[in-house]
Symmetry: C2
Subunit: 527 residues, 2 copies
């Protein structure tokens, strides 16, 4: 005879051997896809069957076949070039209008058009699935247990609700940063939690806090106006009056792609799991030729330089300025660069179309990483304990570098205004000032010293939702409240009304007693 717990343990371990569930992935682009791919690989390793929805116009997803991985390609009303153009437009607009609390309004107005384009593409992707009856019928028969989606790309939640399955979000940060706050119900006290894109840290002066406060209000406004049209789309798709935010609030788990090695500590909720750096892994050996070049650096070591996959090339002038700075350091430099070879290129610098970035950052000879500040790259640097020179450009990059600067493991240079000497100084500082390496190593130790690795935690909670058909015990009751109830405004108004009534009554009574008394005195006097 077995006790309940033993039975349950047995069940769990039996499930552990071969759970073999079916997982549905909502399509996403760019680094979002690269990150989800790591989770998919781990799910497959744990014997789950994964189906990825792919729009015919998808840019980053390259369908391949394997027994546990299915790509469900469906037609959409736009071509690959459309997405390419939207991304190009997005990057360019951002580069030309870098937002700060003071320039947020200009940024908002310029970005509004780009975001509308992005939403048009997103709606195309949504329609491609939701209006494709044959595909929806096929998915309904797919016996999926969970859907995984990045809320930056809408409609995954609608599909999950239509299929009657729970859904999980994987998210770096939300558009206009307000999704976690308004839809996830996470408190964001503006007094010490810097608003996303503000480039502020958790140590704020009074003026910083004013800027931060305004940033939050502006971003709230952006979200409320620019994402508003989705409310009617969601209501129509789900056949009942609802909003984008209300639907997002039904996510079982939010897998946030940050952690406290990178993020400033802030309040969160039980269904938020911070799995930043889940893609990080030990370095593999370098290609022979590259290893020889690296070894030739001797005791000076190497510098790894990449500006990511979104910005392909620099202006000739900028490339020349950078090359001449790099030529002056004793380290060897590996630069991922596709443009025209700069005339000032030093003999210590070698250009590459592509570099095995993680393997280079994990190489014992690596002294510094010059980066645009994408989250994935920064996490690889944290993982391997490498100090950084940040050359941020758009999206969360300036914010990411601000975080690393505050934590003492990076120096920032401004691509638009920097001189060759500025760039050189920055590189020399992170290499020669030991505090940068020490701080980078401290972050690395924090990253490695977690009870469970980020990827394992991400997969644990996906499997948890599959095992229990959700994770309702982690969902706060705040989701059932309106905004004025949430902030207790009705309660405060009621209590103030009570106090006012009480004061009024007491005053009335006093007046009555006083009048009575005055009358009696008058009468007595008369008598």
């Amino acid at each position: 005879m077995l006790s309940n717990v033993l039975l349950w343990s047995l069940q769990i371990s039996l499930l552990g051997v071969s759970l073999g569930g079916n997982v549905l992935i909502w399509p996403m682009e760019g680094s979002h896809w690269l990150n989800i791919k790591i989770i998919i690989d781990e799910l497959i390793r744990k014997e789950h069957n994964v189906t990825v929805l792919v729009a015919s116009g998808a840019l980053f997803i390259t369908p391949s076949t394997s027994p546990s991985l299915t790509f469900e390609i469906y037609p959409v009303s736009f071509r690959k070039e459309k997405i390419e153009n939207v991304i190009k437009d997005f990057v360019l607009t951002w580069l030309e209008n870098r937002p700060s609390p003071s320039t947020m309004w200009t940024f908002y107005k310029k970005m509004a058009r780009v975001i509308e384009d992005f939403h048009m593409v997103s709606r195309g992707i949504c329609d491609g699935v939701l209006k494709n009856e044959k595909l929806m019928a096929k998915l309904a028969k797919g016996k999926f247990e969970v859907l995984l989606s990045d809320p930056v790309f809408p409609c995954g939640d609608i599909v999950a609700l239509k299929l009657g399955i729970p859904f999980i979000y994987s998210l770096r940060f939300s558009p206009a940063s307000t999704v976690e706050k308004h839809c996830g119900k996470v408190p964001f006290p503006s007094s010490y939690v810097p608003a996303i894109l503000s480039e502020l840290t958790d140590q704020m002066s009074f003026i910083d806090r004013v800027r931060n406060f305004i940033s939050y209000r502006m971003q709230d406004y952006m979200f409320e106006t620019l994402w508003k049209p989705w409310d009617s789309y969601y209501s129509k798709a789900l056949g009942r009056p609802t909003t984008l935010c209300e639907t997002m609030g039904k996510a079982e788990i939010w897998l946030m792609r940050t952690y406290w090695d990178f993020e400033f500590p802030r309040p969160y909720l039980p269904n938020f799991e911070f799995v930043g750096g889940l893609h990080c892994k030990p370095a593999k050996p370098l290609p022979k030729e590259m290893e020889e070049f690296v070894q030739s650096s001797g005791e000076h070591g190497i510098v790894v330089f990449s500006l990511g996959s979104m910005v392909k090339n620099l202006t000739e002038e900028k490339a020349s300025l950078i090359a001449s700075a790099l030529a002056q350091i004793p380290q060897k430099v590996l630069w991922r660069y596709k443009g025209k070879i700069p005339a000032t290129l030093g003999s210590n610098t070698r250009l590459f179309d592509w570099i095995p970035q993680n393997d280079l950052l994990g190489h014992p000879k690596t002294r510094a990483f010059i980066t645009h500040g994408g989250t994935n790259g920064i996490y690889e640097a944290i993982y391997h304990g490498i100090p950084m020179v940040g050359v941020p450009m758009f999206a969360d990059q300036p914010d990411n570098i601000a975080h690393m600067k505050a934590k003492g493991s990076a120096v920032e240079v401004n691509m638009n205004t920097m001189s060759s000497a500025d760039f050189l100084n920055a590189v020399r500082t992170v290499i020669n000032d030991p505090s940068y390496k020490e701080n980078a190593m401290r972050l690395s130790r924090i990253h490695h010293d977690q009870p469970v690795k980020p990827l394992d935690r991400a997969v644990f909670w996906i499997e948890f939702v599959m095992r229990h058909k959700g994770a309702k015990h982690l969902r706060v009751a705040a989701h059932d409240l309106s905004w004025f109830q949430y902030h207790s405004l009705d309660v405060i108004a009621f209590l103030l009304a009570c106090v006012a009534s009480a004061i009024f009554l007491v005053a009335k009574c006093c007046l009555f007693v006083f009048q009575k008394f005055a009358k009696t005195r008058k009468k007595t006097k008369r008598d």
Copy 2:
């Protein structure tokens, strides 16, 4: 040549083999000690050396010797009986003045005296260490790496700061529930997080939310008045102006003895770890005679009944009422009871001075648990998936049972007002209505299905603090803000002032222009 990460991994694993650090434990009483004892045992198992400070008047700690466990006994100005009396007084006052949002004020006034007594004993315990120079010198030589304390018993933090070592709290809930909020900086939105001792759940009507709002304000007031005297004690002890709360805010980690199987989900911070049920373990075989009695229950199974260690006996009348109810169920009953044998005791009920509660709750024949609602007992019931009849009496017990009722695994009866039929109905309901067992099993599954077991997580974070000399990366910047900065009141006031100034200026300008215009018109008319 090894990469940084490999070196670090090697270091960690070397540390893992035999870290052998020195841990100091601040004394605590009652179930607080029983809980910390589990952590101590695990620390010793992991080859750490643990030193427990014990006041000569301690009630619960029974010093024993072992190579890795030292009890440092120090004299205090009071006897064992003093603590016994304070506890007795505490329990009695609470039993006679059960607090609710509407009776909180009476409760506060009655408890104020008891709390002052409790603080007097606490000060005696503090003085016993802090003013004992020989002991302090010995501790300073002890090479401790961390101090573990329950903030309900003050001064552990002072000792840690004086020794220059980090400290960690283990806490079920704080006195007046405001320590986590004011000192730990955890947000507690009163709209959906029920105040401790309010017996409310996270599903609140408007009136409930009003009650909850008032509860929070009352508890804030209680804390501010009753704990105020500690501020000067802390300032004097640390030799600088400080407060109890400011010092508590320096805790590296807060090990909260609850989890979302028991607690309603609510916001928290990165340095809060929820390790509820860390003492739970699989059942061991029962003593032979007890097992025979249990087996004699046949398919009906057994009921386990204990009112905890604090309340020894019931009135004769109450015991008789309960016994007659129990006599009517087909189950066998094991009742932990030391009083006079009730005349109405049925042949199915057996009385015990002490029962192996966890082993009984983990027995496959167990159908229900009748409990006073102490956290430890409830967690054993959750662990083994046993539905409960709650007979709450004082402290967090009514709250605990309210949680279990809301989660559908318990029925509550009121010890003061219940009839024999009420009690019988409650027991029959949890046994015969399958929803109670189903919900208890659901909570059990949630409890068992965590990425890391509660005890392992508790020990992980203690060791983390030892390895890294703290966990500052998890500490929110809110600690550096005053209350009006935290709530952005200065920012709001500034922005309102700006808006008011702007309106004033615009109005002034308009007035000026209007006057000018009026004058010109007048002049034109005159001309």
